[in-house]
């Protein structure tokens, strides 16, 4: 099976690498990373405990590894490798905070509001707090793109499995 994947890898890379659209490159890398990782998870683990966390870990790892040209992927890798209990990018907690802040800052000045929102955005992006604003805006763009591709890939994996 692995050999087949390796053979397929050789065949898939085209002669003119520039012609492959970057979204396809990312998706290919992502699925190629994630699926064997999931299989390994299946083989190795005996208990189903902490299953969701490990899967999330693998998902995040695959995302970070397939987008290594970008700054946020390095931060994500750092986060993943440093913690054994993977830090999930949960948005539920930040949602609550954001709603509170918005109601509180109704009468605030515009710049302050915008700054607040920028900081929120920085929290969402892995490593966003270490970047300055302009760099962060650029990185958010490609982070969004990669997230979109990741959801598409995950959806297709899930659909194929059901």
């Amino acid at each position: 099976m692995e050999r087949q994947i390796i053979n397929k890898k050789k065949r898939v890379f085209s002669v003119e690498p520039n012609k492959i659209p970057p979204s396809e490159v990312f998706t290919r890398k992502y699925t190629r990373l994630l699926v064997p990782a999931l299989k390994k998870l299946n083989m190795n683990k005996n208990s189903s405990q902490a299953n969701q966390l490990t899967v999330k870990h693998e998902v995040d790892m695959a995302l970070a590894l397939s987008a290594q040209e970008f700054a946020w992927s390095r931060f994500l890798l750092q986060k993943l490798s440093s913690s054994n209990n993977p830090t999930t990018t949960t948005s539920s907690s930040s949602n609550g905070i954001r709603i509170q802040k918005r109601s509180g800052k109704e009468g605030g000045d515009e710049d302050g509001e915008i700054e607040e929102k920028m900081r929120e955005l920085q929290k969402l992006l892995p490593g966003g707090e270490e970047m300055n604003v302009e760099e962060m805006l650029g990185e958010i763009g490609n982070y969004i793109k990669c997230l979109e591709l990741q959801t598409i890939a995950l959806k297709s994996i899930v659909e194929d499995t059901t």
């Binding site: 699926v35 990018t89 955005l121 969004i144």
Partner: protein
């Protein structure tokens, strides 16, 4: 030979709307490309060529020297930082740069280094915004905006460091030299009635950069175009990123659940194999190796075969799950 080198490029360049200085730079880059591709023994030849040009265009060179020195100082701390993210594209360029540093003539090597960086930057960006650059030459700001996302990312992440470092030195450049530097500097022309001191110019440069990026984000995030104002747009972007992240979480949880089901099926599937006839497992093992297009029909037939031969007939759910397992494992071939 020298004339042979010079004339075809002159012909091609004369049709383009370039200043003499830019043509000079173009020629130097061409020669540099040729020289680098050859062995290092030809460096005296390069020097010869360069000196030939230098004697012809003395005062122009003097001005470019000063600019290049400023540029070099701007680039000094930055070159590796700026090009770090775009590693893959720049590997060849970086190796060339290091070979050039052995060049005995300091200022020449300096100019070459910078022109090489310019060339690599320009070659990256030429694909994208050639027309836009021509248009914006006379106007206030030049920031590279690309259609392709990934090349845009690389360009942005690598260029932002360079342009920030050199934007301060760009304010007093003449127009002739500014044409060469336009890829590296951000030119700000002050409008009527606006302050021209350094800080406000820098502020304006920064704000325009941010607004360009916001415009790009507007294109990406659906539903952002209807909202006006930065705050609203930022809200939309935050919402979108959060929704994407929750989607990913949800899908990964689903995957985890499915994986656990699959694991049980897989485990039991492989433990059942010894019960089956000796010939059958070989067929089962070979199935994943079959090419993708045959996969669907072959799976079913083989699975059915094994099902009938095994004494403890597995449930129908196993059939679907094992089929899906093969589907999952070969999913990577879909793309």
């Amino acid at each position: 030979m020298l004339e042979g080198l010079v004339s075809p490029e002159n012909l091609s360049l004369s049709s383009m709307d370039m200043s003499v200085l830019e043509r000079l730079k173009w020629l130097r880059q061409q020669q540099q490309k040729q020289v680098v591709s050859q062995s290092s023994d030809n460096s005296p030849e390069l020097l010869q060529i360069l000196q030939f040009h230098e004697s012809n265009n003395d005062e122009l060179l003097q001005s470019t020297f000063s600019h290049f020195q400023m540029l070099g100082s701007g680039f000094g701390p930055n070159p590796n930082m700026g090009f770090g993210p775009s590693r893959e594209a720049m590997d060849g360029c970086i190796s060339r740069r290091s070979s050039l540093q052995m060049d005995p003539v300091d200022t020449m090597g300096f100019m070459l280094k910078n022109s090489e960086e310019n060339r690599t930057i320009s070659s990256k960006n030429k694909r994208k915004s050639e027309v836009k650059r021509r248009e914006e030459e006379k106007t206030e700001k030049k920031i590279k905006v690309a259609a392709e996302t990934e090349s845009n990312m690389k360009g942005k992440s690598s260029m932002s460091n360079n342009t920030e470092a050199s934007s301060d030195t760009s304010k007093e450049t003449s127009k002739g030299a500014s044409e060469i530097q336009k890829l590296d500097y951000i030119h700000v022309r002050s409008r009527r009635g606006q302050a021209t001191d350094r800080h406000s110019l820098a502020e304006r440069a920064r704000r325009e950069k941010i607004s360009k990026k916001m415009k790009y984000l507007q294109d990406i995030v659906p539903g952002c175009k209807k909202v006006t104002g930065q705050a609203g747009m930022l809200d939309e972007i935050i919402n979108y990123v959060q929704s994407l992240q929750t989607q990913v979480e949800f899908l990964s949880m689903k995957l985890a659940v499915l994986n656990s089901e699959l694991e049980l099926a897989l485990h039991a599937y492989f433990t059942n194999l010894p019960v089956v006839n000796a010939s059958k497992p070989s067929i089962m093992v070979d199935v994943p190796l079959f090419p993708l297009d045959q996969q669907g029909s072959l799976d079913l037939s083989v699975i059915n075969l094994s099902q009938t031969t095994s004494i403890e007939a597995p449930s129908a759910s196993w059939e679907t799950q094992s089929r899906s397992l093969f589907n999952t494992s070969s999913l990577g071939f879909h793309y």
